[in-house]
């Protein structure tokens, strides 16, 4: 077991994560009923207010806090207990992140920031909302540098050695995060804050959107890579095999740094302010990310097959039956992976330049990110939560909790299957995202969205309700394993942190030479962004003043 103080830090991160999860999923429940005209909000509450809360609390707060809990625990486990300085800065980072979170959330609750989690200008929130966001990012930076400091101490004490895979992957994710945030920090500090506080009258909208998406796409990899850490490092241990290939795993991770940043324009394919050449270049770079993604898919299947064959499986797919289905730590993550197959395929469609026109701003997109971040990432985090909290609190993961955990992941899967399938199809039929109920003057196309079995807002609402039920079961499991489950006194009751062995003997050293990867990353960023961004600044159209539409 890791040091008590490190466990305490991780538990605080998890607690905040699940408070955000509780409020966020409640907002999701309201949304599906509002869209289906079964619920009308009171006058003091606005659809965009709850949708902002949903996006911010789940996609930003839940994910980030959980990720740091996982990193703190895994780093302490793989490279040792935090020193006093690392610990101090980790706590400072935690509190700054939390203060930013509370400030931004308070502004949403006060109705001062119904601008959605993308906070596109010229929608203008209270300046304090942007201050909250800035503090949030700065807080994560402090925590990130604390972890980097911890890693550097290890490197110094283990000269010439490759770091353990978990630590390497954590640092990769953090490097990605630090570079990604440069975009959002630039736009928030130099554009939004002066504008929202009235120090400047107008904002350069296209530039602000581009800087946001410079951050927004790698943001999704900041969510995904921690899930991949679990897939690469934790799943093999549960399966009883070694990490399939240490070098492949490291190479895949550094490729994610390279190809997840210079690609933000794939979210802006319909915007007239960017020329086709730069859009196309970034589309090509986006497609490069398929390489490490398929390397990951290959590794996962290889783990399964090797483990199954070790247990005596024969034939082409015999290993499938030998997987540890009764172990909820495995089954949860397996389902998460399965959802990511259509999720990733949908992402390729979204990024396919012209095809984006079919799906842009429709409910398809909502379906898409609920089967990428909303399930593959979130359910991997759930699968980690089941044992991570007992591991940290020293409590048992009891039989009844295990059964409940199965109920939780199965209800989540069913709910998500219904909701996201409906969203995908509705989107293809033209139903827009980010709208409350509307029948568009009884237009026949719009009326179609309310009947049909899989193609209906009703299905979406049923799915959403099952999802919310599942979320509440999870909250119950979290509370139990935090405070109430019996303490694990006997050794066999103690919950372990499953971390697979990784054979580094054949791994080339240059894979851990950060200057190479950071250097190439910046070179690609400059190629993809320098010219279009500078022309947005030099040939800026008249800026826009702020609008408050709610």
């Amino acid at each position: 077991m890791i040091a008590l103080q490190d466990r305490k830090l991780a538990l605080w991160y998890i607690a905040v994560a699940y408070i955000a999860f509780l409020i966020g999923t409640l907002m999701g429940l309201l949304q599906v009923f509002i869209r289906n005209d079964k619920l009308q909000l009171p006058a003091w509450l606005d659809y965009y207010q709850i949708l902002t809360a949903h996006g911010v609390l789940l996609a930003l707060i839940y994910t980030t806090f959980f990720i740091f809990a996982f990193f703190v625990t895994g780093m302490s486990k793989s490279i040792g207990t935090f020193g006093p300085k690392v610990r101090l800065f980790s706590w400072i980072g935690f509190w700054v992140t939390l203060i930013g979170t509370v400030l931004a959330t308070a502004m949403i609750v006060a109705g001062e920031a119904s601008v959605l989690y993308t906070f596109y200008a010229p929608l203008m929130a209270s300046g304090w909302y942007y201050v909250g966001l800035a503090l949030f990012v700065v807080g994560t930076w402090i925590s990130s540098f604390a972890l980097i400091g911890h890693y550097r101490v290890w490197r110094k004490n283990n000269k010439g050695e490759l770091s353990p895979l978990f630590a390497f992957m954590t640092i990769t994710t953090i490097v990605l995060w630090l570079i990604a945030c440069l975009g959002v920090v630039a736009t928030v500090l130099f554009q939004y804050i002066p504008w929202a506080f009235g120090w400047s009258d107008t904002i350069n909208v296209e530039l602000s959107r581009s800087l946001f998406w410079f951050f927004g796409h790698p943001l999704v990899y900041f969510w995904l890579l921690p899930a991949y850490i679990a897939w690469y490092v934790i799943v093999p241990k549960i399966l009883g095999v070694k990490v399939f290939s240490d070098s492949l795993a490291r190479l895949a991770f550094v490729l994610f740094i390279l190809f997840s940043i210079p690609v933000g324009f794939h979210h802006q394919l319909t915007e007239p302010g960017i020329s086709n050449f730069w859009k196309f270049l970034q589309v090509v770079l986006t497609f490069m990310v398929i390489i490490p993604s398929l390397m990951t898919a290959f590794t996962m299947f290889a783990n399964f097959e090797i483990s199954g064959r070790k247990k005596g499986a024969t034939g082409l797919f015999g290993w499938f039956k030998k997987l540890p289905w009764k172990d909820v730590r495995f089954t949860s993550i397996f389902i998460a992976m399965a959802f990511f197959i259509p999720g990733g395929a949908g992402g390729i469609i979204n990024a396919s330049f012209q095809l984006n026109e079919v799906v842009h701003n429709t409910l398809w997109i909502v379906g898409h990110f609920h089967i990428t971040v909303g399930t593959p990432v979130a359910m991997t985090f759930m699968g980690l939560t089941f044992w991570l909290i007992p591991y940290l609190t020293g409590r048992k993961f009891t039989k009844s909790m295990q059964i409940l955990a199965f109920v939780q992941i199965i209800t989540w899967s069913i709910g998500m299957l219904l909701m996201s399938t409906a969203q995908h199809i509705l989107g293809l039929l033209g139903a827009p995202r980010r709208t409350a109920y509307s029948n568009y003057n009884n237009h026949p196309s719009a009326m179609e969205w309310f009947d049909g079995i899989l193609t209906s807002h009703v299905t979406m609402a049923v799915g959403g309700s099952i999802l919310f039920l599942s979320a509440m079961i999870l909250i119950y499991i979290v509370v139990m394993s935090m405070f109430l489950s019996p303490k694990a006194v006997k050794v066999e009751d103690q919950v372990e942190f499953p971390m697979a062995e990784s054979d580094k003997t054949h791994t080339p050293k240059w894979l851990e030479n950060w200057w190479i990867w950071i250097g190439i990353a910046f070179a690609l960023i400059i190629i993809a962004y320098a010219i279009p961004l500078s022309s947005m600044i030099m040939h800026a159209p008249p800026g826009s003043e702020g609008f408050k539409t709610w």
Binding site: F298, A302, I306, W319, F320, I341, H506
Partner: protein, 40 residues
């Protein structure tokens, strides 16, 4: 780097088949949306 690595002698036919299935799913989904794009 030595030639005899830890992956010698592994039977990964199922893995090959599985990644092919993933590839087919990607292509089929893509073609469906592409057809819709052409049809509009």
């Amino acid at each position: 780097m030595s030639k005899n690595n830890e992956h010698d002698g592994l039977d990964l036919r199922g893995t090959l088949a599985s990644v092919m299935v993933v590839g087919v799913i990607i292509v089929v989904m893509w073609v469906v949306v592409y057809m819709m794009y052409l049809g509009r």
